[in-house]
């Protein structure tokens, strides 16, 4: 630990001396994203070599891992004990996944990565080594800074260690496919939501809906009868969910010239947005991937109209809009608590002057 702490303080000192910013990177698995490009005026701090599992207690449903550890490695270890990360973090390092706050398809059932974080150790912009939360599921001592750090993209500091809650791996998993359009799939999601079904993932794209069921053998068999659809061969299904989880392949990586890809988070029950070309819907329709001509800025407003918010995925920033008013000011002040000199860079918000 001491080595990481002193290396971090050196990076901060170097940045201060040369008037630069500090960017934290893990395995650089998100380097393809426009807001993860490194600026020329940045000192890069790598967490990649800070690896290893600190503690794993299967019967207490948690695992504590160093930030540079590969997510896949953690999953392999959990699988040996019949457990998994239900929220399906993106591939890459544990710290990177936590800093991005992304969750995979399983979040529809198991909740987001943010909910699964029980504790973090953080090196902040003032060089302090801090620990918030812990390893127990129920813990309300102090403000929940551990979950504030989730999705902060390195702007509050470098995540050194993370404790995640884990789940028993379901005995049976089956994926069903339905031929249906966007509107039909969203209406179907509305009918599924209030029912006690063992659903674990929802993904629609290109005229097809994929539904994943997970649970006990008999519960899944019954669920399958109730919802219908064509059963998808196991390996093919696993490949599909892997791709969705990694945001790999189309629609995320092959954006046509002159177009921009946007991700919208919208409330459940939101009908088709009727804007640009819909590429995919995830998590019962609460995440939508839309293609619009580059430079089309009406997306921000459209998202707001339906009670959601937009994220520009490709093209030039800003990739996300900062919240205005009192909340925006609170966010700025919070950042100053952890980064008093304003030296930490990262995230889809651009830099405030």
């Amino acid at each position: 630990m001491e080595e990481v702490v002193s290396r971090w303080r050196e990076s901060l000192a170097e940045a201060r001396a040369r008037g630069k910013m500090v960017r934290v990177v893990g395995k650089d698995s998100k380097g393809w994203l426009p807001w993860c490009r490194r600026g020329a005026d940045e000192v890069v701090f790598s967490m990649q070599d800070w690896q290893g599992v600190v503690r794993y207690e299967p019967s207490e449903l948690f695992v504590t891992v160093r930030a540079g550890t590969d997510v896949a490695e953690v999953e392999e270890m959990l699988a040996e004990r019949g457990q998994w990360l239900g929220f399906e973090p993106p591939p890459g390092s544990v710290g990177g996944a936590t800093a991005s706050g992304w969750s995979g398809p399983g979040a529809w059932r198991y909740g987001s990565l943010r909910g699964a974080v029980l504790g973090v150790r953080l090196l902040d912009g003032a060089g302090r080594l801090l620990r918030f939360g812990g390893e127990v599921i129920k813990n309300v001592a102090g403000f929940d800074v551990a979950r504030l750090v989730v999705g902060s993209w390195g702007r509050l500091g470098a995540i050194v260690e993370v404790t995640w809650r884990v789940w028993p791996k379901p005995a049976a998993v089956r994926t069903l496919c339905f031929e249906m359009g966007e509107g039909e799939a969203l209406a179907f999601a509305d009918r599924l939501r209030p029912r006690a079904l063992p659903l674990s993932a929802f993904f629609w794209s290109n005229g097809r809906l994929w539904l994943r069921l997970a649970g006990g053998e008999r519960a899944v068999a019954h669920g399958r009868e109730e919802v219908g659809g064509e059963e998808v061969e196991e390996e093919m299904a696993a490949a599909l969910w892997r791709q969705v989880r990694a945001l790999d392949g189309e629609p995320w990586r092959a954006v046509p010239e002159g177009m921009a890809l946007w991700r919208l988070a919208v409330p459940p029950g939101t009908p088709p947005l009727g804007m640009g070309k819909i590429l995919a819907c995830e998590r019962g329709g609460t995440v939508r991937w839309v293609l619009v001509p580059a430079g089309e800025e009406g997306v921000w407003k459209r998202a707001e109209e339906v009670g959601g918010w937009a994220w520009r995925w490709t093209g030039e920033g800003p990739w996300q809009q900062r919240r205005q008013g009192a909340v925006g000011e609170i966010e700025e002040r919070l950042q100053a608590v952890f980064d008093p000199e304003g030296r930490l860079s990262g995230g889809p918000w651009g830099r405030e002057e």
């Binding site: 302090r128 918030f132 309300v140 006990g216």
Partner: protein, 508 residues
């Protein structure tokens, strides 16, 4: 922003670190302005009117507030906040006052802002599966409103008949079903309310994700120190169609703990998993006989829920594991009535403690479950040393302990001994890798033990977070985050050790 804020921030944090802030409040002027702004029926200030607000569910700590406001709508909430902002008056928000950590303990020169009258269920949406309710709506009322649609609100603190959702948000309330379903933070989508200055804020989003920093989880569990919440949107879940509840008796708490570990390791996450020791069982059976085996060293309640075929698969496995781990008696509730009876005993554990002893003090640490045996031995030793009895009930699945220390407040020094006993349990929880509070909050009660769980730098961050929302620290002052002198004093006291007089130590 920029430099000015940073300078202000570090000065503020330093000042707070150095000592808890005293507010110079013009009492007469404050009352006059509140009375000029709000109708009579919204304000209380006569001693007999405010007496009932002197404490919350921790009656050992009391303070008489300057005034109590009971706004009928959000506009009146905003008015109260604006008057207090103008005059620099502290504000303590309050729900039903059922909290167990003195989180709603009034401030002598402050206004108690009761949100109990904001009690309308604004919307239950059976398609989006959410309920939008005002902060004063009772926890159980949400599930009752959702029941017609086959939906329910999962977090269920034992005070759910009375406690409000606003209070649940402030404390990040848990309950008996949180191992499987999670706590309040996992079920709140969005909150609306005001900053300390009366500016409107919306945190979180019904789109299930929040842009920018995760402010919603920061406000959930913030004990009313960051914002005043007036409206909450919660997620509703489909009611599980099948439920089974098992009662098992063991000859040792350790064996019961091992059975719990085995159930979870087998891949079953029970909806509820509760344990009571011999003393608690005896107390419950005296207060409300529900048929618990009185000669058992530990009684375990295990509930599994879900679709009928899931429950049919899991129940035999649970029974099998209980038997192989030494349960000497295992009963499955035959019907809903018997299941309710199994639970009634557990839920009556606190009042039962109140029956066998003039007073009791409920502790709320969480420990890693593997340390359960060690903790119980330590508590047994402390019972001898402090000369007080302790009943143990726990949320066994997640390691959240509720030791109930029995004492007689009318006897000189007993409350102080009980308090020191509780403090030692909390410190031991931290030493074993746990936390000083699993679900009741820090409040005024556990502020000293925050010195043990968090470093000076971590506490400085908490002060900073507080200042980011409330620069003068007027929302619920004197709670949760201890100053440096307090920690120094507490450290000295711990060095002296044991049950020394705490009575002269000012709490605020």
């Amino acid at each position: 922003m920029g430099r000015d804020w940073e300078a202000m921030l570090s000065a503020r944090v330093r000042a707070w670190e150095e000592g808890e802030r005293l507010f110079r409040v013009e009492r007469e002027e404050t009352l006059a302005q509140l009375r000029a702004t709000l109708p009579r029926e919204v304000l209380r200030w006569q001693p007999e009117e405010v007496a009932v607000y002197e404490c919350d569910g921790l009656p050992a700590l009391r303070e008489r507030p300057l005034a109590v406001a009971l706004p009928r709508d959000t506009a009146e909430v905003q008015e109260v906040l604006r008057v207090c902002a103008r005059l620099g008056v502290p504000v303590v928000a309050r729900g039903a006052g059922t909290g167990l950590s003195g989180g709603a303990l009034p401030c002598r020169d402050g206004v108690v802002l009761s949100l109990a009258r904001l009690n309308r269920v604004l919307e239950v949406d059976p398609v989006r599966c959410w309920a939008r309710v005002e902060a004063g709506v009772r926890n159980l009322a949400i599930s009752e409103a959702a029941a017609t649609f086959g939906l329910f609100y999962a977090p269920d603190p034992s005070s759910q008949v009375a406690c409000t959702i606003g209070g649940n948000v402030a404390e990040n309330a848990g309950g008996v079903h949180c191992l499987k379903y999670g706590v309040t933070v996992h079920h709140v989508l969005e909150v609306r309310g005001f900053t300390v200055d009366g500016e409107e804020v919306v945190l979180g989003s019904t789109a299930e994700e929040e842009p920018g920093f995760g402010l919603l989880p920061l406000v959930v569990g913030s004990e009313g120190m960051l914002a005043v919440v007036t409206e909450v949107t919660v997620r509703l879940l489909p009611t599980p169609p099948a439920v089974e509840c098992v009662l098992a008796a063991f000859d040792s708490v350790r064996a019961a703990g091992e059975a719990v570990a085995a159930i979870i390791a087998a891949g079953i996450v029970p909806a509820g998993l509760e344990m009571m020791d011999r003393g608690s069982v005896a107390a419950v059976e005296t207060f409300m006989p529900v048929g618990y085996p009185k000669d058992a060293a530990a009684v375990l309640l295990c509930e599994v829920d879900g679709r009928p075929e899931e429950v049919e698969e899991e129940l035999p496995q649970v029974l099998d594991l209980l038997h192989t781990h030494g349960a000497r008696e295992v009963r499955v509730a035959r019907n809903a009535q018997e299941r309710a009876q199994f639970w009634a005993g557990r839920k009556a554990a606190f009042p039962a403690a109140g029956r066998v002893s003039p007073d009791y003090y409920c502790v709320d640490g969480t420990i890693p479950r593997r340390a359960l045996g060690e903790m119980l031995e330590a508590i047994a030793e402390m019972e001898q040393r402090y000369g007080l009895r302790c009943l143990n009930v726990f949320h066994a699945g997640d390691g959240n302990l509720h030791p109930l220390i029995l004492f007689d407040g009318s006897r000189e020094g007993e409350w102080e001994r009980a308090e020191a006993f509780g403090a030692e349990i909390l410190e031991r929880s931290v030493a074993l890798g746990g936390t000083i509070t699993g679900e009741h909050g820090v409040g005024a009660e556990k502020i000293n033990q925050m010195c043990v769980q968090f470093s000076r730098e971590e506490r400085a961050v908490f002060f900073g977070v507080r200042a980011a929302f409330d620069r003068d620290g007027r929302l619920n002052p004197g709670k949760m985050i201890p100053s440096l002198p307090r920690c120094v004093e507490y450290g000295r006291m711990r060095v002296r050790g044991g049950a020394l007089p705490f009575a002269n130590l000012p709490r605020f």
